[in-house]
């Protein structure tokens, strides 16, 4: 049993099956990756895990620390230490970076806000009073999302494409932060289709058509993903024979 388990999840949207018996077992303190082509259902899986609106009605179960969290609100999941870094984080008009990152911090822990900005490579003095709105670039917004997660210090974090919109230099910060999370014994589930990010994980799940088609060490999954999945023209269409995946 993992710290986070997704058990046989089937989910349809507007009559279209999106998740088709998805199962994941995520081990405490390890970095895992979910890889798969566009449309495989990776972000949908993240939404189901977090219990977002529109993703609460499905067959199967999601467990945190062995207990079903299927009926828990997003807040309750957050309070139990499960969180999500969005693929495209929300923007908030007028909400300051410090209020955003510090949303759940006690008054005496405000220093954590600056530390977390520093950890994602953003100069605290330059960012702390800015708004988390459309004036931030996509990459800055992603880094502030990560800073808020570092400040929260979760037990399990699902990171949906942490590298999208991030330049090469900033990616190094993201990788350093993965190390930090691991040192803190935070369990990480990375969602990606980047071979570079995949290589940072220890274990990988290969997703296609809404389910896991292979899993194991990154050393084994990564070459298969790069050589077989990236060029594959199957592209999540189950009506084409899925036998090869």
């Amino acid at each position: 049993m993992g710290v986070l388990d997704v058990e046989g999840v089937f989910l349809t949207k507007n009559g279209v099956p999106i998740l088709n018996g998805l199962s994941l077992e995520v081990w405490e303190g390890h970095v895992h990756a979910v890889v798969g082509p566009n449309g495989a259902g990776k972000s949908t899986a993240a939404s189901v895990i977090m219990g977002l609106a529109g993703y609460r009605d499905f067959e199967g179960d999601v467990l945190l620390g062995g207990e079903s969290i299927k009926d828990l609100s997003v807040t309750e999941r957050g309070r139990r230490g499960l969180t999500l870094a969005w693929q495209e984080p929300a923007r908030f008009e007028g909400l300051s970076v410090s209020d955003f990152i510090g949303a759940t911090l006690d008054a005496e822990n405000r220093e954590v806000i600056r530390e977390s900005l520093d950890m994602v490579g953003l100069e605290p003095d330059d960012y702390i009073d800015r708004a988390v709105d459309k004036s931030l670039s996509g990459g800055e917004r992603k880094r502030i999302e990560l800073a808020s997660i570092l400040a929260m210090n979760p037990r399990v974090v699902v990171m949906d494409e942490p590298d999208s919109g991030i330049d090469v230099a900033a990616l190094e910060h993201i990788f350093d932060n993965l190390d930090t999370l691991k040192e803190r014994n935070t369990t990480v589930l990375l969602i990606t289709h980047s071979p570079t990010v995949l290589r940072r994980a220890e274990h990988a799940f290969l997703m296609c058509c809404g389910r896991v088609v292979d899993k194991g060490s990154v050393d084994r999954i990564a070459p298969y993903f790069e050589q077989q999945c990236i060029p594959c023209d199957h592209k999540n269409r189950p009506e084409k024979d899925a036998a090869g995946t």
């Binding site: 609100s73 807040t75 999500l84 969005w86 007028g94 909400l95 300051s96 949303a103």
Partner: protein, 310 residues
């Protein structure tokens, strides 16, 4: 220091000494129809007359004068009931510049009407920034009726910001009409939070009549419980290179109702006006982001609304 002045400043959360002991800060303090204090700086002229229910004042910033520190104005009423009628004639003469920070405070209001009729002229190349913050009590027994007419002369800059997020609104009927001549700039903002049975009515009209005039009408409003808000923003551009934007955001919770009618009118082919209006409940993705960090839904919504109104 008279007791009433202490009370006025206390109600707006300010230390009177910080303002009153600084000779370089101009100020005017008015309680109901009584001028409690006036301190002027060079180039600022105030001719005030107490009337039966309020004050009739002409405020002039003389030609070329640049007043460094914002003029502090406080209009208030400590009793629960009454009427306060303020009539202002504000002239920022050519090339002059000044800012006013006005506090309107009715902390114990149960049945108070506050009207403000302002006629403003911002001269050639002059600059005028007005900020008005309202502090109301928890009962909502206030009716606020501000009516402003503004002319911004060539190259002038005018900005006004109305904030009512402390205490209950009661009823507000705000009207503003601004005419902007060539290469002038106007920036009109309102940020209002309503609850209970508050009524918020905004009617703002901007006319960009001069070449290269620029203007924005921005209204950010949050209503909850059974409050209602109606925003009518009209922006017309009738000269070449006039540029305007209307931005109306309203967040609605509970049984509250919000309505926005942006009217944009362009009658010159080289003028351009845009508008955006967003009315709805608190954005789900914003809510869920904060909730995924452990905030409960109400706290998350409050933080989002506080941001929008800031």
């Amino acid at each position: 220091m008279p007791d009433l002045i202490e009370q006025l400043y206390a109600s707006i959360g300010q230390n009177p000494h910080e303002i009153r002991d600084d000779e370089s800060i101009a100020r005017i303090e008015v309680h109901k129809n009584e001028v409690l204090g006036v301190h002027l700086v060079p180039g600022l002229e105030v001719d005030a007359e107490e009337t039966e229910d309020g004050l009739d004042a002409a405020i002039t910033v003389t030609r070329g004068t640049r007043i460094e520190k914002p003029v502090q104005v406080c209009f208030g009423m400590m009793p629960e009931r009454g009427l306060q009628k303020i009539v202002l004639d504000i002239r920022i003469e050519d090339e002059a510049s000044a800012a006013i920070i006005a506090h309107c405070t009715f902390p114990f209001a149960r049945e108070i009407t506050h009207t403000m009729d302002a006629e403003i002229r911002v001269g050639h190349g002059a600059e005028y920034a007005y900020f008005e913050r309202h502090v109301h009590g928890p009962e909502g027994g206030v009716r606020i009726v501000p009516k402003t007419r503004v002319t911004v002369e060539q190259g002038g800059r005018f900005s006004t910001e109305f904030e009512l997020i402390k205490g209950r609104v009661g009823t507000i009927d705000l009207e503003l009409e601004a005419t902007c001549k060539a290469h002038s700039v106007m920036d009109v903002k309102a940020r209002i939070g309503g609850a209970g049975d508050d009524r918020i009515n905004l009617n703002e009209i901007g006319r960009l009549i001069g070449e290269g005039a620029r203007g924005a009408l921005t209204s950010h409003i949050a209503v909850r419980d059974a409050a209602r808000a109606e925003v009518l923003n009209t922006l017309t551009a009738s000269a070449p290179f006039a540029r305007g934007h209307v931005d109306c955001k309203e967040i609605v919770q509970d049984q509250a109702v919000a309505k926005a009618v942006p009217v944009v009118e362009v009658n010159h082919p080289k003028a351009h006006v845009t508008h955006e209006a967003a009315i709805g409940s608190v954005d789900t993705k914003q809510l869920e982001t904060l909730m995924s960090r452990g905030l409960d839904e109400d706290a998350a919504a409050a933080l989002i609304i506080q941001g929008m109104l800031s």
